[in-house]
């Protein structure tokens, strides 16, 4: 009896911590984007909200979004349209459950098929955008949705191949198992894979320079054109949650997760730190590079990333056999 209560308490506690992480870290990354992007462009960014350097800007934005009217276009497929933001946002929360933050039990659910599960669920997130694009009854939304789908097709393959390379190297699909096996020399060994994984992850999240599906100068805001209020905010939150999850996964798979000085006690801190540094890189790339054209986007995936991912697989295989 007492054991069962204890078990339930632990499950609830873990979920609450993960939910807190899910709600706080994406906002942190969003705020970092505001400030880092501004300073990279010689500006200051938000300075008013909350008093100190605009720290409450995103909270203010959230309040603003909550106050806005939720409009559903007359010709839209109402159910799909209203469901899409949740489909976009929730997979990232679900994926977060199996990603280990620290050594041992510092993970929501230690799944043996963790890597497989995370990649499958991340793919579902893109489905939300596709649903929004189709259900909006707007040609720009539809174009955006189709571009998203094309991008998903093109970039999912190199992402899976490079992730498979790590799984092959570690001999396990458990995320905790991969980090446990990780050695420093995996860094040069899996370098190409890390590059391919990170870049195709960016493309899957439609982050610049791969933001063709939301190219505002061509198709307004792609699949999100018709969204207002909280639903729109959910899509935006999904984007930042996606960044966090991508950076977290890259950390866990390629950068050794919690490995670092004092990792026995401060392992989780190392994971979070590496994730935030990678998030900064995501923002940095956004500020530095212009958007790729649709054909360049496709050519890059099929002629550069997929051969690179295959080469990484070959290298991993050769080293494993030796």
């Amino acid at each position: 009896m007492g054991g069962a209560a204890h078990w339930w308490l632990e499950v609830v506690l873990r979920l609450v911590v993960i939910l807190g992480f899910f709600l706080v870290v994406p906002l942190l990354v969003g705020q970092m984007e505001h400030k880092a992007m501004a300073h990279m462009q010689g500006r200051l960014g938000p300075m008013e909200a909350g008093g100190f350097h605009g720290w409450a800007q995103l909270i203010a934005d959230g309040v603003k979004f909550a106050q806005k009217e939720a409009v559903v276009p007359a010709d839209a497929d109402r159910t799909v349209f209203q469901l899409a933001p949740a489909v976009a946002l929730l997979p990232y929360l679900v994926a977060l459950v199996v990603v280990p933050i620290g050594p041992g039990t510092q993970v929501g659910v230690a799944l043996d098929l963790g890597l497989f599960f995370v990649l499958a669920v991340m793919g579902v997130g893109v489905l939300g955008t596709l649903m929004g694009g189709w259900a909006s009854a707007n040609k720009y939304s539809l174009l955006g949705g189709i571009r998203t789908a094309a991008q998903l097709m093109a970039y999912e393959l190199p992402m899976l191949l490079s992730a498979a390379s790590v799984g092959m190297a570690a001999g396990t699909l458990s995320l905790s198992g991969i980090v446990d096996k990780w050695q420093w020399w995996w860094l040069p060994w899996q370098l190409i894979g890390a590059f391919v994984f990170f870049v195709s992850g960016l493309a899957e999240l439609q982050r610049p320079p791969f933001d063709m599906p939301v190219a505002d100068s061509e198709i307004i805001f792609g699949a999100y054109t018709e969204y207002t209020g909280l639903r729109f905010a959910f899509f935006l939150l999904a984007e930042y949650a996606g960044i966090v999850l991508l950076c977290l996964l890259t950390t866990v798979l390629f950068l050794g997760g919690w490995h670092g000085p004092f990792s026995a006690h401060l392992g989780w801190l190392w994971t979070v730190l590496k994730t935030l540094v990678l998030s900064f890189v995501v923002i940095w790339l956004r500020v530095s590079y212009p958007r790729l054209r649709e054909d360049q986007l496709m050519r890059f995936a099929w002629t550069a990333l997929i051969p690179l991912a295959l080469a990484q697989l070959a290298i991993t295989g050769v080293v494993r056999v030796l």
């Binding site: 880092a36 501004a38 300073h39 990279m40 462009q41 010689g42 500006r43 200051l44 300075m47 940095w284 790339l285 500020v287 530095s288 590079y289």
Partner: protein, 226 residues
């Protein structure tokens, strides 16, 4: 490789101009270096910008640093105005309104006749029409109009942008002193003329002094001899 060969061939031919052209054509490719160097350069640029202070100013909290001779608003010194109407006539969009009447000044006690003079009743500038060309200020013969750097006079209603002479007068107190000339600049005409006159006077004075001294010298010599 080929561009280098071309260049050497061109130099051999002695076609200097052509070689320069080829070099400039080959340069962009040469500057790119290894593939991806441009991408790294882009990242370096944004990072460098991030470490430097921002170019923007937190305006309401921090007053902007306006350049001298900022064209903020047109100010009026009422006393200098003779109602000559030059400004109102030259104004391209007719935004200056002037009303005046004539007053008779009685003849001075020594004799003569009564004089009339213009008295300014109203001087208004409609800043919703004004295009800030500054022709009125240029054309004013008595320096009654000046540029003031004041710019915070937005209104909620466009009608409220018609400002009368008392407001224009207030702005005059914000007119800064004239900017100092650049080092090595030519002197203003007036100063140059005055300087020339002063120099002339000084030279004349010196000449007079020399003459006086010479006179005194000859006097002394005469005395000594005597």
């Amino acid at each position: 490789m080929t561009s280098e060969l071309d260049r050497s061939a061109a130099v051999e031919k002695g076609a200097v101009e052509k070689s320069a052209q080829e070099k400039s054509a080959a340069d962009p490719a040469a500057g790119r270096g290894f593939p991806g160097a441009g991408l790294v350069k882009g990242l370096a640029t944004t990072f460098k910008t991030m470490t430097r202070p921002a170019h923007t100013v937190q305006y309401p909290d921090q007053p902007p640093e306006l350049p001298p001779r900022t064209r903020g608003v047109i100010a009026l010194v009422e006393e200098n105005c003779t109602v000559c109407m030059l400004c109102a006539r030259e104004c391209p969009d007719w935004c200056i309104y002037i009303d005046s009447h004539k007053e008779t000044v009685p003849a001075p006690p020594g004799g003569g006749r009564d004089r009339t003079r213009n008295v300014l009743d109203r001087f208004a500038i409609d800043f919703s029409l004004c295009m800030y060309c500054g022709i009125c200020i240029e054309v004013c013969p008595f320096d009654a109009l000046e540029w003031s750097p004041e710019f915070e006079y937005a209104e909620f209603d466009i009608k409220d942008l018609l400002h009368e002479k008392d407001r224009l007068r207030e702005w005059f107190f914000t007119v800064p002193a004239p900017v100092a000339l650049d080092p090595g600049a030519e002197e203003p005409k007036e100063i140059a003329a005055a300087q020339k006159a002063a120099d002339k006077q000084l030279a004349a004075q010196k000449a007079a002094e020399i003459v006086a001294l010479a006179d005194a010298g000859t006097d002394g010599e005469a005395e000594g001899e005597g």
